[in-house]
């Protein structure tokens, strides 16, 4: 089992998951499991997924991230993807994958600020 390969830290009521390894099926499955378990355990209101180490995000990974955000949302948790690299953004958009509806932020700090604003109900 590839459990725990992606570290998940707690910052207040936010969980921070930092993806630093190549993603494939077993890693992805355990990542999603771990995240949801942590949300359940801690009652986290926010999830930040740091993808600054990812050089390649293909449609599989993009879908995975979107699905993870959807799963988290069902449990009442808002997700923000942070640290996307310029080449990753360009490639996704060129492929036609705009990832609408996904919150993104430039950095962890920005992500936390965004979540604070969201939980105060000041962001649409």
């Amino acid at each position: 089992m590839a459990a725990g390969q992606i570290p998940i830290l707690r910052i207040g009521t936010t969980l921070l998951a930092t993806i630093q390894i190549e993603l494939h099926d077993t890693v992805v499955d355990s990542f999603q499991n771990d995240v949801l378990e942590e949300i359940e355990k801690t009652g986290a209101k926010g999830l930040i997924v740091d993808i600054s180490a990812l050089e390649t995000v293909d449609s599989y990974v993009a879908r995975m991230l979107a699905n993870t955000a959807k799963m988290a949302k069902l449990m009442g948790t808002e997700t923000v993807i942070v640290g996307m690299r310029p080449a990753v953004a360009a490639t996704l958009v060129r492929m036609g994958y705009f990832m609408e509806g996904i919150n993104t932020a430039l950095s962890l700090e920005e992500g936390l600020q965004l979540q604070a604003r969201q939980s105060n109900g000041t962001v649409e």
Partner: protein, 143 residues
């Protein structure tokens, strides 16, 4: 560079795709080659992502196939060619597969149209029941 597949003298590699982890192997090999040839970050990302999409197609639809990665040279232009061959079910409606975006029919979900936009040359040959062959090429920007 220690390629996971076989490298022959002409600067090309062959990687078998018969488990999901092989997608990662193909991706890594392509990334290394693109970086060595000094593609810029956008070129590396385009090639690596295209390789990832196409190897995943082989894995998901045929469970078995092969990726061939080679260096290209034309005058003073440098490029990469990727070939993906499988003997899977093949694609019946190529036009549809090439036209669709990600928002369309999940059943196809081949992402071929997206991948095509990342490269300079895109060739696909597919026969239902016989298999599929996709060859793509990307050239380094010439400055």
């Amino acid at each position: 560079m220690s390629p996971p597949g076989n490298q022959d003298d002409t600067g090309s590699w062959e990687i078998r795709i018969d488990k999901e982890a092989d997608i990662v192997a193909v991706r890594q090999q392509v990334r290394e080659l693109a970086k060595e040839l000094r593609f810029d970050q956008f070129g590396v990302a385009a090639l690596t992502t295209a390789a990832s999409e196409l190897s995943r197609n082989v894995w998901v639809h045929a469970q078995k196939g092969v990726a061939r990665i080679s260096m290209l040279r034309n005058g003073n232009r440098v490029g990469v060619e990727l070939e993906f061959v499988d003997h899977g079910p093949g694609i019946a409606d190529l036009d549809r597969a090439l036209a669709g975006g990600y928002s369309t029919a999940k059943s196809l979900g081949l992402g071929l149209s997206g991948t095509r936009r990342l490269v300079d040359e895109f060739n696909i040959d597919s026969q239902p029941g016989r298999g599929t062959k996709v060859v793509i090429r990307k050239w380094k920007k010439e400055y």
